[in-house]
Structures are given as structure tokens and as C-alpha cells.
Symmetry: C2
């Protein structure tokens, strides 16, 4: 326990600590208001050291987005077993998504709220991740439709719209779960499956919702 | 046709034109990058006139948010007939929502993308609207649950989560519809009803989605 005085911390460890401090500061203060002073203080290092390792606030923010994006996608991906029934894959993916966003609230705030709206190139960094997730969900829905019908009646555009709706719902629920006392990741995932999959399931059995009159 | 030269335009009309120009500029450039010069030029008036009517960029942005928020909420509210079955109310509300966001893409971009993320007091201006919409959807879902069960088994928190999911899905679909060639407001509303309501309907009949195994 406790490194001997003067013992150098490995660069990679030190860098992760700075990024932890940066992610939290960006999430709490916003990208523009966050200062390198504040980040250095929270990380317990000098400001020149932060600049030495991470060059500029822009590069630091980009590095934070990429790290948070990678760990989130990896968490979801590793939870899913390809070849399982589509609803099982979605359930596993959603549980992993809500668990990760609950455990990394600052990372989620950086990705969902900060990065998307600070203009380019930051917005693009997150858009890449979102497109990847929408593409994955689109595939899952198309696959599920194939499981049910040999000749799926769900048009490509309809599937794309359903995937957008599902991802939008998941994003909103992650924000809600992180700001509502006592909502667990499993509850959030269950709510979304109830909301979405039971409905998608009907749709794929050829039982869409029909307008009144 | 054509006002006589020198005839003054009523202040209210002139103000709306400036705000139209401002909403478009904020949507396209973002709040920080948008300049009062650009807004004045697009509105076809002098920059001092913009300042004379609307004081500062902050006040102009706030006025834009409030105008767009009011017209959106009014469009949705006036489409709904209280007392109709809950799914009919939701269908009417969603069609009005997607029609309005399609007809006012700059207004939607200001509300959804720009205002939420420029810190206070702007974020609060939009949060008020979102809370109002979530509260309305929460009531609708609770009402629908009462229509089905006398003693509704949907816990209050579950209903709140479902409303968040529905609103998040609608937000994402509005962005998608506005950026995808050929998607109509009616298609977006139908997709969301299929996605959400058929699922909610099952849930309320006591037929939730059940996890595999």
C-alpha cells in the first residue's frame, strides 16, 4: 500500500487519473467553462503536467470522448452473444448499457450532453458511436423480423425508424435513471424492453397498432 | 401588394421577421458562433435595429426559445381531444408533434440541440417544456392503465420511466425524420405508435415482455 515517496507513477496510470478528473470536470462544468487548472487540481497534479501529457483542452476533451465511447461500446458488445434470439441480445445489450451509464455517469454526461453540442470535431466523435449503435439495433430488428416472417413485411425505412426510436428511448432513460433516486440499471432495461420489445414483437407478428376510426 | 415606400412595418411583424432569422441562424451556426450581424443581414434590417428591438444576443436567444416552445406545445395541445381514449390522444399528439417539427426544423434544432446545452438559463427554458410534455404523457399512460385495470399494476415509477422512453423516442425520431429524405410526419408518428403503443398495450393487459430463460 502507498507508493514510496518519490516513486514515479507509470505514465499510463497518471494519464488515466487525469482523464478521470477531466471527464468529471467536463460533465459538471461543461466543456467551455471547465478549466485546465480545475482538472489539474482534481487530478492532484500540476497544470504543466496535464499539458505535457495531453497537449491542449481540445485534445484532452477528444481523448475523454474516445475513452468513454470505447468503454461504453465495449461494455455493450461484450454482453451480447451473437446468434442468440434477437430479444435476448437486446436485453443483454440494454442491461449492459444501463449498468455502464449508471457506473460512469460523468462519462455518459460527456458523451450525451457535452460532446454532441460543442460543434465539430467533437460532435462527429460521438456521432460515429451513435451510428454504430443504431446500425447494430437495426440489424437486430431486421433479424428478429426474419425469425418471425420468412418474407419480412417491415420496410427498410420502418426498421431504421424503429431503431432510432429505440436508441432515443434508451438515451432518455439513461439520463432519467442517473437523475432519479433508486432506479436500477435492471429496472431501466426492463422498462425499455416492456415499452419497446413487446410492441416490436406485435408488429413483427403482423399485429401493428391501428389508428382509431 | 408591396407596402408604399417609407411605410413603417408594424413592430410586431418586424420582430417576428428578426426572430425567424435568429432561429434559423442559431440552428445552423449554433448559439455561440451565430453573430448579430448575420441575423440582421438575414432579416434584412440593420444591426442597431436588432439591438433596439431585442437588446442582446442572450435576450434574443431566450425570446427564440420561448416562441418556439410555445408554438410547439400549442400545436400538440390543440390537436388533442381530452376524454378520447389514451391511444387516440397520443396518436393525435404525435402527429401534431412530428408535423410541427417537420414544418419548423430550425425551431426544433434550437429547442432540441442548441438551447439544452448552452448552460443556464437557456437549458432551464427548454427543461420546463420537456417536463410539461413528460407529465402529460405520464398522465396519458396512467389513464390508459386505468382504462384497462381497475387496480392498475403499473407502479408510478414504471409509468414515469415509460413516459421518459416515449418522449426520448419522439425526440430522436423528429431529428431522424428531419434529416432523412422522404420521411413524412405521419410515417414518423405511425412508427412510434407501432413501437410504443402496441408494447404499452400489452403491458397494460398484464402481458409484459419476459426475459429469456
Amino acid at each position: 500500500m502507498g507508493a514510496a515517496k518519490g516513486k514515479r507513477m507509470p505514465r499510463a496510470v497518471r494519464e488515466q487519473q487525469m482523464m478521470d478528473a477531466a471527464v468529471r470536470t467536463f460533465a459538471e462544468r461543461g466543456y467551455r467553462a471547465a478549466s485546465m487548472d480545475e482538472i489539474a487540481e482534481l487530478a492532484g497534479v500540476s497544470k504543466p503536467l496535464v499539458y505535457l501529457y495531453l497537449n491542449s483542452k481540445e485534445e484532452l476533451f477528444t481523448a475523454c470522448i474516445r475513452r468513454e465511447r470505447t468503454t461504453l461500446v465495449e461494455a455493450v458488445r461484450s454482453a451480447i452473444t451473437p446468434g442468440e434470439p434477437a430479444d435476448g441480445q437486446l436485453w443483454s445489450g440494454l442491461r449492459a448499457f444501463f449498468t455502464h451509464t449508471a457506473e460512469h455517469p460523468y462519462g455518459w454526461a460527456v458523451l450525451h450532453t457535452q460532446a454532441r453540442t460543442q460543434g465539430e470535431p467533437f460532435a462527429r466523435e460521438v456521432a460515429v458511436m451513435r451510428e454504430e449503435i443504431v446500425a447494430f439495433v437495426t440489424l437486430l430488428i431486421a433479424e428478429a423480423a426474419r425469425e418471425v416472417h420468412r418474407d419480412p413485411s417491415l420496410a427498410e425505412r420502418e426498421v431504421a425508424g424503429l431503431a432510432e426510436a429505440l436508441v432515443g428511448a434508451a438515451e432518455a432513460l439513461a439520463v432519467w435513471a442517473n437523475t432519479t433516486e433508486g432506479v436500477t440499471a435492471k429496472q431501466a432495461a426492463t422498462t425499455l424492453m416492456n415499452f419497446a420489445w413487446a410492441g416490436l414483437g406485435n408488429l413483427m407478428r403482423g399485429e401493428p397498432w391501428t389508428p382509431p376510426r
